[in-house]
């Protein structure tokens, strides 16, 4: 009889694959950072071959190394920005739900304010004001992405406070702190983790897009956004590999993060046991 894998097992395998691939890319990128900078005019504009799987560019740089380094930089920026953003969301979400009506309306107003401005515009402004570069990108992404998760956490806490089992726990003599630790944390932690993982792809895409537009990382760095914007000039001359492979790798990374996040949600939700 053929044994059928259940959804949880599938989710675990997917998560492991995603984590492994992303970690491998991040590490590989750091290792070949120097190799990505080497220029060699004897091998410029080579199409993809066995020796140069992603081809080389007009300065004879190995596009495979450049792509890996760019991706690893994107992943690191994504981790930093998403981390900062998620912590902000957690603190503000909790504050809104627990500190009373005034704090709640101030924070809700802030959320609406940030959400009301188009992401990319706010990101450009913040990054530009901070003098572009790595810091500008990270701060920009962090400051624009906390809103939806903060709103989610606020709502979740408000709803939990009303739930019967928490009212019962209170009447059984448990303090607010005990209840928060025992009853609320188990609900918030999955939201938090999944929110964190699902924010990576956003952060990475935004990093690439503002770099592409010229408001992000500086041009000498092998970032995906830089690679893609430079390749625009050469696409017209038939150097398709300059944009295709880095583009595919970027999409693959984003999809993997997304898959990882969705699998994590499935694993953390006890309801999925029966599926």
């Amino acid at each position: 009889m053929k044994t059928k894998m259940n959804q949880r097992k599938k989710a675990k395998i997917l998560l492991a694959v995603a984590v492994f691939f992303l970690a491998a890319v991040a590490v590989a990128g750091i290792i070949c950072h120097d190799a990505a900078m080497v220029t060699d005019f004897s091998r410029k504009n080579l199409p993809p071959s066995l020796a140069y799987p992603f081809g080389t560019d007009w300065l004879g740089r190995n596009m495979f190394y450049r792509t890996l380094t760019g991706l690893s930089m994107s992943i690191l920026i994504g981790v930093c920005a998403a981390g900062v953003s998620v912590v902000m969301a957690l603190i503000l979400g909790l504050a809104a739900a627990t500190l009373g009506k005034k704090a709640d309306s101030v924070i809700t107003f802030l959320i609406d304010l940030v959400m009301g401005i188009p992401h990319i515009l706010l990101l450009l402004l913040i990054s530009f004001a901070l003098g572009k570069g790595l810091r500008g990108v990270i701060v920009g992404v962090a400051l624009t992405h906390w809103t939806s998760l903060a709103r989610l956490i606020r709502g979740e806490v408000l709803q939990l406070k009303q739930s019967e089992y928490i009212q019962i726990a209170r009447k059984l003599g448990h303090s607010n702190l005990e209840i928060a630790r025992k009853h609320m944390l188990v609900h918030l932690l999955p939201q938090f983790l999944v929110g964190l993982v699902l924010m990576f792809p956003h952060a990475i895409l935004h990093e690439s897009s503002i770099t592409f537009l010229g408001f992000g990382l500086s041009t000498e760095q092998p970032a995906i956004g830089v690679i893609l914007s430079e390749s625009m000039k050469y696409l017209i001359m038939g150097k398709w590999w300059l944009a295709l492979f880095p583009g595919i790798m970027l999409v693959l990374t984003v999809v993997l993060f997304d898959l990882g996040g969705t699998s994590l949600r499935k694993i953390l939700d006890p309801n999925s046991v029966h599926k």
Binding site: S163, E164, Y165, I166, Q167, I168, A169, K171, L172, G173, H174, S175, K182, H183, V186, H187, P270, N271, V273, H274
Partner: protein
């Protein structure tokens, strides 16, 4: 001990229609009292007020002449109508049971809770099985009054009789006052010594 409700009036919103006005009742800890009334007349609301979950618009709930404690273990414990909403879906039942204060091993055993259930999550148990946990959790050492709000409505007859046999014996031996809400007349005739028509 005596649990009293004096001139209880309640409305969900400030200027809304009142759910009930000037309800008076008193229950001794040796008594088993039934509360009867049609749907939507505020029986559950009354239970919530007596157990301290809701504040009445006017009137007061006294236990031995003193108001219910705001913090700490409440001597009046209520068992809710829907066990699946009264337990945290993300906690194993062992942890849910640990919420109760000093629940005796004997209570757990006599309610027919199997050791195997302890490591499960609520969605892996049936309503009747969950209700046993809710009852055990409410039967801590310091419980003086127990309010049973339709606790057996969704259970099969065998489970109902098991649970009620245990509860009657338990409140009898520990001197816990019991307030029962149910739509089932035969059950109330069997369980309660006195009836309050609502």
């Amino acid at each position: 001990m005596i649990l009293e409700g004096r001139n209880l009036t309640f409305a969900y919103e400030e200027k809304e229609r009142e759910v009930f006005t000037n309800v008076n009742l008193s229950v001794e800890s040796s008594e088993r009292v039934a509360v009867l009334g049609p749907s939507g007349f505020g029986k559950t609301t009354l239970c919530k007020i007596l157990a301290g979950y809701l504040k009445p618009k006017s009137g007061e709930v006294l236990i031995d002449g003193r108001p219910l404690p705001e913090k700490g273990y409440c001597p009046v414990q209520m068992i809710w109508q829907h066990p699946e909403r009264a337990v945290n879906p993300r906690l194993r039942l062992r942890d849910t049971l640990a919420d109760g204060r000093d629940v005796e091993e004997r209570v757990v055993r006599e309610l027919g809770i199997e050791t195997d259930w302890m490591n499960r999550y609520p969605q892996e148990l049936s309503g009747g099985e969950l209700q046993r946990f809710c009852i055990a959790r409410a039967l801590g050492k310091d419980t003086k009054f127990l309010i049973a709000d339709e606790i057996s409505t969704m259970l099969d007859l065998i489970t109902q009789s098991q649970i009620w046999t245990f509860l009657l014996k338990e409140v009898e031996s520990r001197g816990i006052g019991l307030i029962v809400v149910s739509h089932s007349e035969p059950l109330l005739n069997r369980v309660a010594q006195r009836k309050i028509i609502f």
